[in-house]
């Protein structure tokens, strides 16, 4: 009997602890989200006194807007490259750093790979503007120095290379962070698994694929959500590096939303684009959540 009461008391305590977080979420996440849905059916500007109901007009615009297509294409490209480089290469990097052969230098290298993450995105982008500068930039100068003049390009000014140049900045910055997450996961893998495999004569490559990869599956799930939702909400890099240009070659959804709302002063339609971003990221997250969740049960 006493035990039950104690349990109930504990539940009240537990609930009390969640109140601030719930309040916080309610005020800063759920209320704006619901408000945003309402806004997406309206037409208004930043300075307009009233909001006009326009029904589904904003959604019709969304379907016929060519920039949306370009943006989604770029966001998908962003996501694919981010998964390959950040998650794929990040895992390999983590496995290499955790290998016995690197035991001595690993701490130093870990810091080196992690440094880009702690730099401000704006600083990184401005740095890369210098790297990509066609006249005096590091990249072109390097290519010329090693005799590859023909590969020197107007990186941010050409529609063919601009998007890749923008994406590369994120990879440079975030791979170290993802690798760090994998390192933590790898360190949790019981050492006896590796020892047993070694005794059985498994090579390092086999040990990576048959022990490391399955054991860090949970972390895979986390990093995939991080990189994919990051790729679909990316804003800073294209905003600072290219402003979406040349033309709309590097336009992404978040930047298009910002320009529509704050430059074209069409807040209603911007809210509609925000809904689209929300739907895409929510759908992708739940797909990943359910597919990874099932494996966990099996």
């Amino acid at each position: 009997m006493g035990c039950v009461i104690l349990k109930k008391k504990r539940n009240v305590e537990a609930f009390l602890f969640t109140v601030p977080a719930l309040l916080f979420l309610g005020v800063f996440v759920f209320y704006p989200l619901i408000n945003n849905i309402v806004y997406s059916f309206q037409s208004f500007t930043l300075s307009s006194a009233t909001k006009e109901w326009v029904g589904l007009k904003n959604y019709q615009t969304l379907l016929s807007d060519g920039i949306i297509l370009t943006s989604i294409k770029n966001n998908v490209l962003y996501a694919v490259i981010s998964i390959i480089i950040q998650v794929g290469f990040g895992l390999v990097l983590a496995a290499v750093l955790e290998d016995v052969a690197f035991r001595k230098v690993a701490p130093a290298l870990r810091s080196v790979y992690f440094i880009p993450t702690i730099l401000s995105m704006t600083v990184v982008c401005l740095l890369f503007e210098f790297v990509y500068n066609p006249q005096m930039g590091l990249l072109n100068s390097f290519l010329e120095a090693v005799g590859l003049d023909s590969l020197a390009k107007v990186w941010l000014g050409s529609k063919k290379t601009a998007m890749y140049a923008v994406i590369a900045v994120s990879q440079w910055q975030s791979t170290g962070y993802i690798a760090m997450l994998f390192i933590v996961a790898i360190q949790k893998i019981p050492k006896d698994l590796y020892e047993a495999a070694e005794v059985d004569g498994a090579s390092k490559i086999r040990r990576f694929f048959y022990i490391t990869v399955p054991q860090v599956r949970q972390m895979f799930f986390v990093t995939m959500i991080l990189t994919v939702s990051g790729a679909f909400t990316v804003f800073n890099e294209p905003y600072i590096l290219t402003g979406g240009g040349p033309g709309t070659a590097t336009m992404v959804l978040a930047l298009h939303m910002y320009q529509t709302g704050f430059i074209k002063n069409n807040m209603g339609y911007a809210s509609t684009i925000a809904i689209l971003i929300f739907v895409i990221t929510a759908a992708l997250s739940s797909v990943q959540f359910f597919s990874f969740g099932k494996k966990e049960d099996a």
Binding site: P20, L23, S48, V154, S158, K159, G245, P246, G247
Partner: protein, 454 residues
């Protein structure tokens, strides 16, 4: 056990309290100024029955002044001017607040239609001013001009025109600007080139410079959309029938179906072919400082407001001259017009102290304020006689002459039409420069954007 529960509750309460105070924290600093203003009002309430408009003797007047120049030298200049005014008028306190361009646009758009509107705030002319006025919170200042012809007579008419709508004046113009081609005099002399007055002459000059070995006879930082828009605004003005242009720039009637718009973009395409491959990957400042100022590119389209900045990066003995955008042979617009618009200050009609606000603005928009603007910031004042031999560079004086001799001031493209239209225009023209779009396809997008507005 009891202690634990108590501790838990206290902690939860503390967390909630911290959160709430964090939420209200942002607001309180903003409201502090208004609270101060309200305190002033309450004090004034007693005297209000006798003397309504002018502030009563000895009463503390608080004016909120919001502008878009948080950077030096202008920020310090404003601070000093305001301090001087407050010393002269001890009953007046002026709270200055400022944020930079784009953020300023966002913030003033948000507050202008609310009760939080600042007493005095800066505004661009043209569509931006119209948008401010449409909020219903901007006071008309026509009577201020009529009451004081001596003050009003010193302000450049072209600047006043930029803030006149339906016969009413809504601002005190502060600065004026113009956009012309700056050219490297030495290079022009070396190649025996004359200043071009028509488009074909201009192209001939560019060809001659290219033949003389200049890879980029004309330079621009095409990464900056606004720089592209400055070109297109002038080119449209030179090419199009003014009536067609006025109809298309109006959001309610804009169609952009005249074939001359495509001609303009064709000419834009032609022009960008002289800018070299690099121009699409650099910004305006880089173009100015590392191409024009070094003599690598002999011509660049610059604002008079950039004279002081340019002078800082010029080598010894660099001489430059100005010429207005050449006329199109087939153009229907006024070739003597100059692209460039005034900026000014508006007074809210919700202010508690309209008379005090006017008094301050008249004091600020004067030869004194104008001279400070030229000496300290290198901008051109709208006040007649404020720029003179003693405070301006020779280039400033020449610039004033060009502004005064222009038949009319044509507004910047991004002050002349709706953002939905000019954004598409800017992105499209950038895409033309890299060969991604054609003039026809860009105009189709512009037409679509214009149609979506009505």
């Amino acid at each position: 056990m009891k202690f634990r529960k108590l501790a838990a509750m206290t902690l939860a309460a503390a967390m909630a309290a911290t959160m709430l105070s964090a939420c209200s924290g942002g607001g309180s600093s903003e409201t502090a100024a208004t609270a101060a203003a309200e305190a002033g009002t309450e004090a004034a309430a007693g005297g209000e029955t006798e003397a309504a408009a002018p502030a009563a003797e000895g009463e503390q007047v608080v004016i909120n002044f919001f502008h878009r120049w948080p950077n030096d030298p202008k920020n310090t200049m404003f601070k000093n001017l305001i301090q001087e005014y407050m010393d002269e008028n001890p009953n007046v306190t002026i709270n200055m607040d400022c944020i930079l361009n784009d953020e300023y646009k966002e913030k003033i758009r948000m507050v202008v239609s609310t009760d939080e509107v600042p007493d005095i705030f800066s505004s661009w002319s043209g569509t931006f001013a119209q948008e401010m006025i449409a909020s219903g919170n901007v006071s008309t200042l026509t009577d201020m001009y009529e009451e004081d012809p001596e003050w009003a007579g010193k302000i450049a008419q072209a600047s006043i025109d930029g803030f006149t709508f339906d016969g009413e004046i809504y601002a005190a113009p502060w600065s004026q600007d113009g956009k012309v081609f700056f050219y490297n005099k030495k290079i022009f002399e070396e190649n025996n080139l004359e200043v071009p007055t028509t488009w074909n002459e201009f192209i001939a000059v560019l060809d001659a410079l290219k033949a003389a070995g200049y890879e980029t006879p004309i330079v621009e930082g095409l990464m900056d959309n606004w720089a592209i828009l400055h070109y297109l605004g002038t080119m449209n003005q030179r090419m199009l029938d003014p009536e067609v242009l006025a109809k298309d720039y109006d959001a309610a009637t804009g169609e952009f179906t005249d074939p001359a718009y495509v001609d303009v973009l064709d000419k834009w395409q032609q022009l960008t072919s002289y800018m070299g491959d690099v121009c699409v990957a650099i910004d305006h400042e880089t173009a100015r400082n590392t191409y024009f100022a070094t003599g690598e590119a002999p011509i660049m389209y610059l604002q008079f407001a950039e004279i002081t900045l340019l002078e800082q990066s010029l080598p010894e003995g660099f001489e430059y001259g100005f010429f207005n955008f050449p006329a199109f042979e087939e153009g229907k617009g006024d070739p003597k017009a100059l692209t460039g618009a005034p900026e000014g200050f508006m007074i809210s009609n919700k202010t508690q102290y309209p008379e005090e606000c006017r008094k301050f603005l008249k004091w600020l928009v004067s030869e004194k304020g104008g001279a400070a603007l030229t000496t300290e910031a290198g901008d051109l004042s709208s006040v007649d006689g404020a720029v003179n031999e003693s405070n301006g560079l020779p280039a400033h004086l020449e610039a004033m002459e060009i502004i005064n001799s222009a038949s009319t001031l044509a507004p910047w493209f991004d002050n002349a039409c709706d953002a939905a239209v000019y954004t598409v225009y800017g992105q499209g023209a950038q895409a033309i420069a890299v060969g991604d779009e054609t003039p026809e396809s860009v105009m189709a997008m512009v037409q679509e954007a214009a149609a979506s507005l009505h």
